[in-house]
């Protein structure tokens, strides 16, 4: 019985919605005002976040895109390089699913390109879902332990979950706070 319950609670996690949920482009762009570091005033969280965040299939697809789109080039396997580290719990532009999607969609200063029109919204959500596993901000049993590449990271399945915080680089303090 307990087994059944544990398994039941896992249904969303296992669904494989191959089409994603088609979204109008504007839906992602709704939060353009957030070009401020530290996230500005974040509105209520986008309801789609949950569907992608807790879903193993979307996370796996996001991982594939992360490697294929060469995110590794700047962010490494989450450890950071030219771009900021993604496996810590510090987020300059907000660590929520919709905030990460906004960063991917719009690009950010100092090198992060805008992927609008290059990736579909579904793919951006998948990427965001994957990126959040790097910092173990999702249930550990949804994340893959590693990819079939040279893996330099600690398995997300073993990491301690860290609540995301918005870091504040000294130069720019969000006025909204």
């Amino acid at each position: 019985m307990a087994v059944a319950l544990v398994l039941l609670s896992a249904c969303d996690r296992e669904a494989r919605e191959v089409r994603g949920k088609p979204l109008p482009e504007t839906a992602v762009a709704a939060q353009t005002s957030q070009l401020f570091p530290a996230g500005g005033t974040a509105g209520p969280i986008d309801p789609r976040a949950k569907m992608y965040e807790g879903n193993a299939y979307h996370i796996a697809e996001g991982g594939r895109l992360y490697r294929q789109m060469n995110c590794v080039g700047c962010h490494a396997n989450g450890g950071g390089g030219m771009g900021p580290a993604l496996m810590d719990d510090q987020w300059r532009y907000g660590g929520r699913m919709d905030q990460i999607v906004a960063s991917i969609d719009q690009g950010r200063p100092n090198g992060m390109p805008s992927w609008r029109g290059k990736l579909t919204p579904t793919q951006m959500w998948q990427l965001a879902a994957y990126v959040r596993t790097l910092s173990a901000n999702v249930a550990k049993d949804v994340a893959p332990s590693r990819s079939d590449t040279m893996s330099a990271t600690y398995p997300p399945t073993l990491a301690k979950p860290k609540p995301p915080t918005d870091s504040d680089p000294a130069a720019v303090k969000g006025p909204a706070r």
């Binding site: 590693r146 893996s151 600690y154 398995p155």
Partner: protein, 203 residues
């Protein structure tokens, strides 16, 4: 069941317990050792298959594991065969006093071995996530630790039992004897694993 019978022999005189291959417990232990043994053998085979894909073993720039803890462990587990043999002999002679004396010692040795084992993990110089080398040496060590742990637990339970009214009975002496037999397997299985973990990387 009204078929008539031809009575050929009365078995009442047979003993109710026996040691070695005359007892079912012995066979149980032997079969368990066969299962575990083939598991270890296959893990060893996997070790060499994974090794065959690497230029150096351990893969550069890793260092082979430190020798101190593993060697200490090996010496202690070899030395433990002395009390182990004695306790087995005494059990088969059905003498309760020496068994009650030696079993706690065996349990203590097991506990000490587990402590040293913790330092062994520390001396491997590699994590299981690093590469297949790390994965297989951790797997070997974890597999063997499981054996130490189960036999240690078994010994503790048996030690307690020997001090109860169930202690000085034939059946319990058989259990003690077979527990000693299993301990022999635990250290015999360790020797090749010791070589795989500590010495093959040094070749």
């Amino acid at each position: 069941m009204s078929a008539p019978y031809r009575f050929t022999r009365d078995l009442a005189e047979l003993p109710t317990h026996a040691f070695g291959n005359r007892s079912l417990t012995w066979w149980g232990v032997i079969l368990f050792m066969l299962m575990e043994g083939s598991g270890f053998a296959l893990a060893g085979a996997a070790y060499f298959i994974l090794k065959s894909h690497q230029g150096t073993w351990p893969p550069a720039p890793l260092q082979p594991p430190g020798l101190l803890a593993g060697t200490l462990f090996t010496l202690l587990i070899l030395a433990s065969e002395i009390p182990n043999t004695i306790v087995k002999k005494k059990a088969e002679a059905e003498e309760i006093a020496p068994v009650r004396l030696l079993l706690p010692i065996m349990a203590a040795i097991g506990g000490l071995l587990l402590v040293i084992r913790a330092f062994e993990f520390d001396s491997l110089n590699v994590m299981w996530t690093d590469n297949p080398y790390g994965s297989i040496v951790w797997a070997l060590l974890v597999l063997h630790t499981t054996h130490i742990l189960t036999d240690w637990f078994d010994t503790v339970v048996l030690t307690v039992l020997m001090f109860t009214q169930h202690g000085p009975t034939g059946k319990r002496f058989v259990d003690v004897s077979e527990n000693s037999l299993y301990w022999r397997f635990v250290w015999l299985a360790w020797l090749p694993i010791y070589l795989l973990i500590y010495w093959v990387p040094r070749w």
